[in-house]
């Protein structure tokens, strides 16, 4: 995967608690700290922004429950900012999982059509099964899993690495997108209007009761991924190495796919398909930390910072009009993808 030499002594911190220990590179810790600080700074900015500017001091007071703008900050702006952070982190994790599974920087869920599949599932749940948050979540997860299975089955025999998987994913994505627009056109006016705003991926108008369940699901999936992380590091060394060191590969892969699709689908069910975060966040995290293998924490933090920044940009760019955040991420993501291709990072993967 990476050309960096192993783990030189002195650059790592080991924390032991009883039988468990966590070992992290100093650079990774520093980068994670910086990203966390950036996320918090952006979050404060996001809480200040809105229909009118609220001074940071007032925002902090409002968070503590004092002042005039308690309702505005705590009930209106906080859910959106938190959603950007959590969903960004979830997308970053999903991207890291799939890029590590496919061993391909382009094999992220948004490129290979898992977002579109989750969206199809969600649309199906709304139009045929008649809504309900539980149906919505289940539908989008089932859609994402089906899309993943389809892409996997169709690129079998060619190995998961390589651009072939990605092009198969692009084709599946195109089919699903066509299917989605057909469903939206068929649907009733109300559903169609709601779905059109949502189809670009948007955090506009989220409130607390919409985000609590997704937050819980994402937290659970993040814990699962944290438990799987050591095994993921082993597989980064190659299948044989992983097997030799006692990793149960097929079970690990199944769990990883479930967790990755779960993260993507949960976000999609609430906010619609938001592209690019899952593609870029793991790469940015890896570039910053220069860590070998899979770096889940930096990926999640980069995702959170990216999505929040994109959401702020979406609110500010055409100020009175609130753009769907998906529009911003689509444009940035396309440019990023083109740059990635131009730099021939994927030269091994033809």
């Amino acid at each position: 995967m990476s050309a960096h030499p192993g783990f030189p002594a002195g650059r790592h911190v080991v924390v032991r608690v009883g039988a468990y220990s966590i070992r992290a590179g100093r650079r990774t810790l520093a980068v994670s700290g910086t990203l966390l600080a950036a996320a918090l700074g952006l979050a404060l900015l996001g809480l200040c922004l809105g229909g009118s500017w609220t001074a940071p001091g007032d925002v902090l007071a409002a968070l503590a429950g004092h002042g005039d703008s308690v309702v505005v900050v705590r009930e209106w702006r906080l859910p959106r900012v938190l959603a950007a952070l959590v969903f960004g982190a979830a997308l970053g994790l999903a991207g890291a999982v799939f890029q590590s599974l496919t061993r391909n920087p382009l094999g992220s869920p948004d490129v290979v059509g898992l977002d579109a599949g989750a969206y199809t599932g969600a649309l199906f749940a709304i139009t045929v099964l008649g809504g309900g948050p539980a149906y919505l979540a289940a539908g989008s997860i089932a859609g994402g899993l089906l899309a993943a299975a389809a892409v996997y089955a169709l690129s079998l025999g060619s190995g998961l690495g390589g651009l072939r998987l990605v092009v198969v994913g692009i084709a599946v994505n195109a089919m699903l997108t066509a299917l989605n627009s057909w469903i939206v056109l068929r649907a009733d006016m109300e559903v169609a209007l709601a779905a059109t705003g949502w189809s670009a991926g948007s955090l506009n108008g989220l409130d607390w009761h919409e985000v609590v369940l997704p937050f819980a699901v994402i937290a659970a999936l993040a814990l699962l991924l944290a438990a799987l992380a050591p095994a993921m590091h082993q597989t980064a060394l190659g299948d044989d190495q992983a097997l030799a060191s006692g990793v149960r590969l097929s079970r690990l892969r199944l769990l990883l796919v479930l967790a990755g699709v779960g993260c993507t689908a949960t976000v999609t069910a609430v906010a619609g398909p938001i592209v690019f975060i899952a593609l870029a966040a793991p790469q940015i995290g890896r570039l910053l930390t220069r860590a070998p293998g899979v770096a889940l924490v930096p990926a999640a933090l980069s995702g959170a910072v990216l999505l929040l920044a994109a959401d702020l940009a979406a609110q500010l760019l055409l100020a009175p009009v609130a753009l769907p955040v998906g529009v911003v991420t689509t444009v940035i993501g396309g440019c990023y993808l083109a740059a990635l291709l131009a730099r021939r990072t994927t030269r091994h993967a033809r």
Binding site: M175, T177, L318, T330, L341
Partner: protein, 346 residues
Amino acid sequence: MTTTDRPGRPGTDDRAGPRATRAHRPVVLAACVLLLLVAVVASLCVGAQTIAPAEIWRALTGAAGGEAYLIVHDVRGPRTLLGICVGAALGTAGTLVQTLTRNPLAEPGILGVTAGAGFAINIGGVLGLAGGQVAQLLLASLGAALAAVLVHALGSAAPLRLVLTGVALSSVLAGISLGLRLMLPDVFDRYRFWSVGSLAGHEQVPLTLPAVTIVVALVCAALVTRPLGALVLGEEVAQSLGGHVLRTRVIVLVLVTLLAGAATAVAGPIAFLGLMVPHLARRPAGASIPWLMAYTMVLGPVLLLASDVGARVLLPTGEVPVAVVTAFVGAPVLIWAVRRRGRVPS
């Protein structure tokens, strides 16, 4: 791993023996023309109001007046003609690109060329430039050319990477278009249909200029088949056969730009059609580029008209844009082509 010698080269089909293919070619072409006639009749018959073929014949042969006459003359007739022109243009553009780049995955829609053309018209509309039809055609061709150059520069010659670059470009353009549309809803309302390809609602647009452009380009494409066939054998071979490699390349690229630009200017970006048609046409055509072109020009309209009829039937109320149908039907062809390529190391 048995066909390592000629990876993905267009115009080679080893399954149909050359002699058998040669004998069958005219028959298959006649069958294709028959198919086109069926598609035309279906396109005239099917819609919000189904008209019996006999009545269509009466409406076409004279007898002005009556509902059927109005529908056929003012709505479905022009729409069918539009479908024939656009289908032939996109199919031929696809065949030209695939043959020139020897890339079975190439196609103006996937490579973002049609997206570039549609985007150029959108931008022209915002700046107030896309008033006349000539201006639209010029803008579309310019956009198509720019997109083609950009994608080729970024994606280089590697087939799979070219597809990815095209998709990246299309998504960037789509995002910017959506942002602009939200920013300037009034200006953009008129240009909205250039974001999703559709044959509906263009019945009253004068077709003369785009149709003439497309027909001229199709004739040129037919004339260029012979030097192109030489080029398929490799640049050195083409040169030693007396062909002008660079000239042929430039002519083909200009033709692709014109065809994709003109088709997009009248119908909006329609992807995957140019991918499907050459793959279908290659089966009966074998290695012959002239026959490939002939089949393409007949099968392109057949596919687009069939998709358009599907687009009218798929919704109980109203229609889906035809680009949605072509994407749904055409994406599996991309998967198939990728998997077929997969047997040879690329």
